[in-house]
Amino acid sequence: MVKVDGSGSQSSLIQVRDLDKTYRRGGEEIDVLQGLNLDVEAGEFVAFMGPSGSGKSTLLNLLGGLDVPTRGHITVAGDEITHMSGGKLTEWRARHVGFIFQMYNLIPVLTAFQNVELPLLLTKLSKAERRSHVETALGVVGLSDRMQHFPRQLSGGQEQRVTIARAIVSDPTFLLCDEPTGDLDRKSADDVMAIIEELVGKYHKTVLMVTHDPVVAARAHSILHLEKGVLVEGKHTTPLSSAGGVA
């Protein structure tokens, strides 16, 4: 259940309180996020929309521990991440966050298998265990027959599916998707969204997604708009909380 007024319960998977993010450009300060609140329960699929420069990606970066806020707090699965050191935050990302980017960001000199295996190399899993995990992840995205292909040998949609496999292979707490279909044709976008929906529906993953595409956003449980640095409610496809819930 998604809330944006700061009234969510302590049991929320993601809690954001009074989040500010200010950039300094030249001599000018730009307030991108201003007192933003957000509560996301486990298993939610939330889409963030808004015009360019509204701070959607900034919010995603803050939630993923890639950037630090100017003020405010972010707590994920009980971990307050806003005061973590760089090293701790890196470890935290490895454990809790799966990233899916618009441009796929696969390593071109590694095969699909090797790309997906990358997060597991940081774990203590044996080679056989890593292989099993990678095969499972690539199976979930329907690319079991493309494991030894390099990114250049895959279509855009397939590359994005490899990225999804890489994001889920270490079974993270939640997935952050930044325009996951932004570079894909409609058919490939549908395929990718179907996989994301499956991750939420079948595997109960929590997904936070930034998108410009209303059709894609409509497939989320909740849509939140970023306007003037705060989140405002959009529409919902699942039952929401009565007070402060997205309606």
Partner: protein
């Protein structure tokens, strides 16, 4: 190691650039080894010098002789164990290009003063009995194809000129690879018979062995004091100092070699540093992904350093192996001009350290840049 695949995959992504960078390392390390070998050859005299040997020359110059009569006076100085004397013969074998050092020796004491130059008793006894006899170093014998029993004509350029005939009675070998095996020894008595009257009874220099190296300073002072204010004052120094002064005649070889080596080092550093910087810049978004998915800053630094280190080690090894093959060819080509062109294990170790150092230094700045980059900024560059 599980990260090796990532490192090698990155290394191989630009094969031409990789080959060129490895090539530049190979050439630089080859040059490094070559310079080190030449430097060693010039320094070898002082390196192999006996710690218990002193050389006595005329204070004015080594080309001014000293009377043979000094020998007994020197022998009386406490601490002197044994003494021998030599003259530079300076003859030509067939052609001026056929340079090799020839020394007039005192057969009685030569082997006691230079025990590291080995010749069998049979050959030595044959030499001692043969007024026209000669002992030749193994490298010079091999160079001219001389065998024991051969008769060798030399043309003197100093001692009144003319042809001198010698019988090769023996071939000496050095105890160590770096010992000089290019010399040609002829008998003092034969030399005395043929030189002009004014030269008779004059030696080029003395070499003596001490009872103990600790006596070197005291004995040197005693010898030079003994002949002070005489018509032929002496300068006595350790063999090591003598060899070092000899090398100085050619100019400051060490400074020259260090200067060239420094230029090579800096050039290589710039070339490989630039290559690594370009490589890292090209891969900024990829390195950002590594950091985003949980690779630490240190892991990213490790990847970059590992790549530059591998390039350095492969290139360095190729360069050093090439030098292992080339140095003997070079030594042969120089016809004994430098007596001991040897690529020693210490030079190879030093070369490897040099390669590792350049590899690490060239990778450290791009690596630190990658390490400190902000993921958010890097991902925007996609």
């Amino acid at each position: 190691m599980k990260f090796a695949r990532i490192i090698f995959a990155n290394l191989l992504r630009k094969k031409v650039r990789l080959l060129l960078t490895i090539g530049s390392f190979a050439v630089a390390l080859f040059l490094f080894a070559f310079l080190a070998v030449v430097n060693d050859a010039f320094q070898r005299g002082s390196d192999v010098a006996g710690a218990d040997r002193l050389v006595i020359i005329n204070r004015t110059s080594i080309i001014n002789p000293i009377p043979l009569s000094y020998r007994d006076k020197i022998l009386r100085i406490p601490g002197v164990k044994v003494i021998t004397h030599n003259n530079w013969f300076g003859a030509i074998y067939k052609d001026e290009k056929n340079f090799f050092p020839q020394f007039v020796i005192d057969p009685e004491n030569q082997r006691q003063v230079f025990p590291e130059l080995l010749v069998s008793d049979d050959q030595w006894n044959a030499f001692v009995k043969d007024r026209q006899g000669a002992i030749v170093g193994a490298r010079t014998a091999e160079r001219f194809g001389w065998k024991i029993g051969d008769r060798v004509p030399l043309v003197s350029t100093i001692w009144g000129g003319g042809n001198w005939e010698f019988n090769i009675d023996g071939i000496y070998h050095g105890k160590l690879p770096q010992d000089d095996e290019t010399q040609f020894w002829l008998q003092w008595d034969y030399f005395q018979e043929h030189v002009p009257a004014g030269i008779k009874g004059q030696v080029g220099w003395y070499v003596l062995r001490l009872d103990t190296p600790d006596d070197a300073v005291r004995v040197s002072k005693a010898i030079d004091g003994e002949f002070a204010n005489s018509p032929n004052e002496t300068r006595t120094e350790t063999e090591s100092a003598f060899a070092a002064n000899w090398v100085k005649q050619f100019g400051n070889i060490k400074l020259l070699i260090i200067s060239i080596g420094t230029v090579v080092f800096l050039t290589l550093l710039l070339v490989t540093g630039n290559t690594m910087a370009i490589s890292v810049r090209e891969r900024t978004p990829e390195l950002a992904i590594f950091k985003a998915i949980g690779y630490s800053d240190r892991a990213v630094l490790f990847f970059v350093l590992a790549e530059s280190l591998i390039i350095a080690l492969i290139g360095g090894t190729i360069g050093l192996l090439l030098s292992v093959g080339a140095v003997p060819v070079l030594a042969k080509g120089l016809n004994g001009l430098l007596p001991a062109l040897i690529l020693t294990p210490s030079t190879l170790v030093l070369g490897t350290i040099f390669a590792v150092l350049v590899g690490l230094l060239s990778g450290v700045f791009p690596g630190l840049t990658a390490m400190h980059m902000r993921v958010v900024n890097a991902l925007r560059r996609v």
